[in-house]
């Protein structure tokens, strides 16, 4: 898991956002500044050619990690190392991420002008399952799935080593999602791409990921190979997420509804952030924040209680 030459390495990366009220309000109402720690001490490595998925519920910080990796945000603490040449990002909403006034040719050619790479737009379109003739059309002429193919072609135009995909199929219908996931797997095989795949959908992640990191309230709580994570989840939160999966095979397994909800990230619980919802929490969990040891951050696992 810890290779000698990781393509990407994050070392205790944190990111705060200032969510204070406007200055005048603060002065009049004597309020202090308020900081929201969206990502809190996250470390992991990615090896070339693998797919690392980050999963978690909304607000867990997984998208902020994606933005930190590509440099859309700077880390407040910690460091990131990238040992490749280029990275590109694919966004969730294919309607918002393509310029509606540009023809597809221009959209795909833009990264090549900036990065000075030379690729044939028609060939890129063919690679993602579109026709070279589509280059002369505008984004509104395409369906959601086709637009996501255009986003992928645009990302490939920059000849990236690393692709950061933030919920790339969440806005798509299942049959279209299947087409895009198959396409991404095929491109990875053919071009040796490395993916960071951000998703809230565990079933999608189990299909596409080699390794999976689970996040909760800005912290990485568990990281393991996809096989191990889904067959032997260790952290109580991971277990909870897997138990909450819908039973599509109708095996009669009732899914266990989880008690409680994600706490307010402005005031995360002390100790282990998951303790208010955790069935295994004890006094230590309430006061002492668990360290990330051997792929999991949990006192109960560390003490051998579960």
């Amino acid at each position: 898991m810890h290779s000698v030459n990781p393509l990407l390495k994050l070392e205790s990366v944190s990111r705060d956002f200032d969510v204070s009220r406007p200055w005048l309000n603060r002065v009049i109402e004597r309020e202090p500044r308020r900081l929201l720690r969206a990502v809190d001490g996250v470390s992991f490595e990615i090896t070339k050619g693998e797919t690392l998925a980050l999963v978690g519920e909304s607000g867990c910080g997984k998208s902020t990690v994606a933005r930190l990796i590509v440099g859309l945000h700077a880390p407040t603490e910690g460091r990131l190392e990238f040992h490749g040449r280029r990275m590109q990002m694919i966004f969730q909403d294919p309607y918002a991420s393509l310029n509606p006034r540009w023809r597809v040719r221009k959209i795909i050619a833009e990264p090549m002008m900036v990065l000075d790479t030379k690729k044939d737009v028609g060939e890129l379109l063919r690679q993602v399952g579109l026709s070279p003739d589509d280059a002369e059309r505008y984004p509104h002429e395409f369906s959601g799935g086709q637009r996501q193919r255009i986003s992928i072609a645009r990302a490939l135009a920059g000849e990236p080593d690393l692709l950061i995909c933030d919920e790339p199929t969440s806005a798509l219908d299942v049959s279209v999602q299947a087409q895009i996931l198959n396409l991404m797997a095929e491109l990875q095989e053919r071009l040796g791409l490395t993916y960071v795949f951000i998703s809230h959908n565990l079933a999608v992640v189990s299909l596409i990921a080699d390794r999976v990191g689970v996040m909760y309230l800005g912290r990485l709580v568990e990281i393991a190979s996809a096989k191990d994570l889904f067959s032997r989840p260790r952290h109580p939160y991971t277990r909870m997420l897997i138990d909450a999966l819908p039973d599509l095979d109708m095996s009669g397994r009732s899914r266990t509804p989880v008690a409680g909800e994600v706490p307010n990230p402005l005031a995360p619980p002390p100790g282990c952030a998951f303790h208010p919802r955790c069935p295994h929490a004890n006094e230590r969990c309430r006061v002492e924040r668990p360290e990330f040891l051997n792929g999991v951050a949990c006192h109960a696992v560390d003490e051998g209680r579960i």
Binding site: E57, D173, L202, R255
Partner: protein
């Protein structure tokens, strides 16, 4: 049967001609039964729901067929009569709880108002009933939350309040349009369990509209799979999921990723659902169908018996 829909047709007149969004669909829901209506975006599932409750956005209109609630036709009622029925005998739950709640009133006021409008109760009894509804949908400490505004609640709790509102007048029919789509997985399971229990306890009929087969598998008794404004297949959930009879359902089930399946590629349906102005003649699925033959291109299939289900596919025609 609580709800009967027969040969329903919904059309949208546009400048470039009339679009048929729902094309001749029929189904019925019995007391205590949950019928799942599943399909991809644009399949017509939400429009079917809106047509049933008479809330189609103009210029959309019912162009044919009948909708009957407990045996009485409701699709031709005047606006005001239908409005009373909607509050009293039909409860509606939408995807986004914020659109169903008024941000300027406390949840207690909203519940009381709904109860007083539809039931003949004293204000005091209405408050009692509102509190017991909140308790029933799992709002902790309802007395303390009674005076809170919608923005004080989290997404999952808001959806519980909306469910309480929908149930306030003891409706016979509950229409839930993507009730869990905006929620996180862990909250989804809670809401699904709640809907299922309430429908069973009250003997109400539930029409559950969703794109999520997982939600259907856990909640519904029967499922109707929609494609391009038509029902492709309808039958008991277990049979539709384990032994789909329509090639579209087969492809749809195959394209859903499953944890623990150890597959590296998903089954894939080529192409996309046709737009409403370009629905092909014959079977609407025929250009994408791996099992297409001559008849599929020429003649539209009706729902034909296929095992315990019914599928609109010529493969099931008795030759």
């Amino acid at each position: 049967m609580i709800l009967e829909v027969e040969h329903l047709k919904v059309q949208f007149p546009t400048r470039r001609g009339t679009l048929t969004a729902v094309d001749d669909i029929s189904f019925a829901i019995a007391p205590g039964e949950v019928l799942g209506v599943v399909g991809e975006s644009g399949a017509g599932k939400s429009i079917t729901g809106m047509a049933v409750i008479g809330l189609l956005d103009p210029p959309g209109r019912i162009a044919g067929g009948e909708v009957r609630l407990e045996g009485k036709r409701i699709d031709n009622l005047p606006h005001e009569a239908l409005r009373r029925i909607r509050g009293r005998r039909i409860g509606v739950i939408f995807q986004d709880p914020l659109t169903s709640l008024n941000p300027l009133y406390t949840i207690g006021q909203q519940l009381e108002e709904t109860i007083l409008t539809h039931l003949d109760l004293s204000p005091r009894a209405a408050r009692e009933r509102a509190l017991s509804l909140l308790r029933e949908v799992g709002i902790p400490a309802p007395e303390a939350r009674y005076g809170n505004y919608p923005h004080h609640f989290s997404g999952g709790m808001r959806q519980r309040v909306v469910i309480a509102l929908a149930l306030a007048a003891e409706p016979r029919l509950l229409i839930a349009d993507e009730p869990t789509t905006a929620l996180d997985v862990s909250i989804q399971a809670q809401i699904i369990a709640l809907l299922k229990r309430l429908a069973a306890e009250r003997g109400a009929a539930v029409m559950l509209i969703t794109h999520d087969m997982g939600v259907i598998a856990e909640t519904a008794h029967r499922v109707a799979v929609m494609y391009a404004g038509r029902i492709a297949e309808i039958g008991p959930v277990r049979d539709v999921i384990h032994a789909p009879r329509h090639p579209y359902t087969v492809g749809l089930m195959g394209s859903i990723p499953k944890v623990g399946s150890h597959q590296s590629r998903l089954m894939q349906i080529e192409g996309a659902m046709p737009r409403l102005n370009a629905i092909p003649p014959g079977c609407a699925f025929n250009p994408r169908c791996p099992k297409r033959f001559e008849r599929c291109v020429l003649e539209r299939p009706a729902l034909l018996d296929a095992g315990t289900s019914r599928a609109a596919c010529w493969l099931h025609a008795l030759s």
